[in-house]
Amino acid sequence: MSDTELKAKLRFLPTGSALHKLSALITLLLLILAFSIMSSAFFSVNNGLTVLLQTSVIGLLAIGMTMVIITGGIDLSVGSVLALSGVVTGLLMKAGLPVMPAMALGVVTGGVCGFLNGLVITKMRITPFVATLGMMMIARGVALQLTGAAPISRLGETFGWLGNGALFRVVEMQANGFPKVIFPGIPYPAILLLIMALFGAYLLQRRQIGRHIFSVGSNEEAARLSGVNVDRTKIWAYTASGALAGLSGMVLMSRLVTVQPNEGVMYELDAIAASVIGGASLMGGVGSVSGSMIGAFIIGVLRNGLNMAGTSAFIQQVIIGVVVIGAVYLDQIRNRK
């Protein structure tokens, strides 16, 4: 039965989606190899942990984005929602709320934005691109208006804990009075990402909602005729995407120890690129969380490695553009065989 189970695992990954992930993984490994040759500092425990940390925000966004993309939709609002969630948390903390409930409400804010996206898409029948484009502007405008465009600072040590804390961190006090980091620890954001990715994959592959998400993206009319509640499924996916955007907002703002209302611009493109590099199809019906994580790390490693190698910011853009296309192409050729 284990053969059956294995196959069952792969069944939603059509035209050899195991290959899909394999080719993305190869791209990732090639990148790591190339950068290790170019810069000795790249291939170190420290830097590995940094990449984990840096990728966690895009990674969290990519989980929700993947779900939305599998339904055949898209969520352009995640970058703005991330900022709005952060702003809400920041204002609540300024109003005296402790960090945990404030952050929880920040995530809820993201979820509410996503829920509204879902409502507009299903009940008003607006295409996802337009609906979430609207939300992108609205959430950004509200975030800026609420703060007068100024960062919210001095939120206290505890606010930075989520983004900057780490498990098994070892620090030593130096003679000069400044601390020295022996082992930076596994960053909490990376742990959070792992948990959310596993949970997301579980929902998509093992739960009814996941099955319905695939069916809606594969053939919406067929799903409807089969008795799938298409509207509820879509609303669920957009709410998840919004909540994850809220969560990534918490991580990001906590890393900055400041709430920045204009943070997160164009993050949606990174999240979409991660999903697509990882094999999700913008036509719907195809995608996986694990693939998207590989996609997110391809982008993260690329940014980090190019910085480490001291590449000009402009050439970096060109290279990232080429790699995004190249990664998807590599996948294409593998699939065609």
């Binding site: 059956t4 069944r11 059509p14 099955r211 594969s218 008795g227 509640n229």
Partner: protein, 261 residues
């Protein structure tokens, strides 16, 4: 398991059903009923409105006006889900399969089997699906392929299996054998008779006169959206039906064949 006497209260009554798309009248005040254990053929030329009429009973299309009664009570069939709770299952002309999912996932779509932890029970769904499909096509292999890779007939078999699996009370079959080979067609005919024996009421849309005469108890003929006649199958012959389908009227000299013969 159901009341098998076709003389009882009708399972389904569709009364004065009307459907228009803007100016186009697709279904024009059609009434028809269906009793348990009965097969009613729905015939008509292309574009006569057969699929539209049936889609309204499936909850897949809204009524412009008219009323549907199930077991004598008014049923408001707003979604396919509503229809399914009344035990109305449909094999759509378009099949309605999710291309990226495999046969089992399609068969159980919307009604997935779960383990006691609420997870999808893939093992059981596969086993059940296999059993159901093999009944209709003994050498159905590509059970784990996404259905987009299956041939037209294989897809049709999945659509049929899905409709009968859930113990329908009313089954709507919209040209179920159009894409099927001869052995598959024969199996669907067998199946129809078996379901009928179980007391299920069946609406069968078909262009195949042989199927119609072999399987139906009554036929209802539509022409340009209107019901131009409902007959016991004994009362009509092929030419009567062709005349109704094509011209919308019976031959001038018609009298119920059942009585004359």
């Amino acid at each position: 398991m159901f009341d098998t006497a076709p003389t009882h209260a009708p399972l389904v009554q569709m009364c004065d059903i009307h459907k228009n798309f803007g100016g186009v009248v697709a279904v024009d005040d059609v009434s028809v009923d269906l009793y348990p254990g009965e097969v009613v053929g729905v015939l008509g030329h292309n574009g006569a409105g057969k699929s539209c009429l049936m889609r309204m009973l499936s909850g897949a299309m809204s009524l412009s006006s008219g009323e549907i009664l199930v077991n004598g009570e008014k049923a408001d069939l707003k979604t396919p889900q509503d229809a399914k709770t009344f035990g109305i299952e449909t094999i759509y002309q378009t099949l309605a399969l999710a291309d990226h999912l495999d046969a089992a996932a399609n068969l159980f779509l919307g009604r997935e089997l779960k383990t006691r932890f609420g997870n999808l029970d893939e093992t059981r769904m596969h086993a059940e699906a296999k059993a159901a499909l093999v009944q209709l096509n003994p050498n159905f292999k590509n059970l784990k392929d996404p259905v987009s890779r299956l041939s037209g007939g294989q897809r049709q078999v999945i659509a049929i299996a899905r409709a009968i699996y859930f113990q329908a009370k009313v089954l709507i079959m919209d040209e179920p054998t159009a894409a099927l080979g001869p052995s598959e067609t024969a199996m669907v005919a067998d199946l129809t008779l078996r379901l009928k024996k179980d007391g299920i009421g069946i609406f069968l849309i078909s262009h195949d006169m042989h199927d119609v005469f072999d399987l139906c108890d009554r036929v209802m003929v539509m022409n340009k959206g209107r019901n131009v006649g409902t007959f016991k199958i004994e009362d009509v012959n092929k030419d009567d039906i062709l005349s109704l389908i094509i011209k919308g009227t019976l031959p001038d000299d018609w009298t119920p064949r059942g009585e004359t013969s």
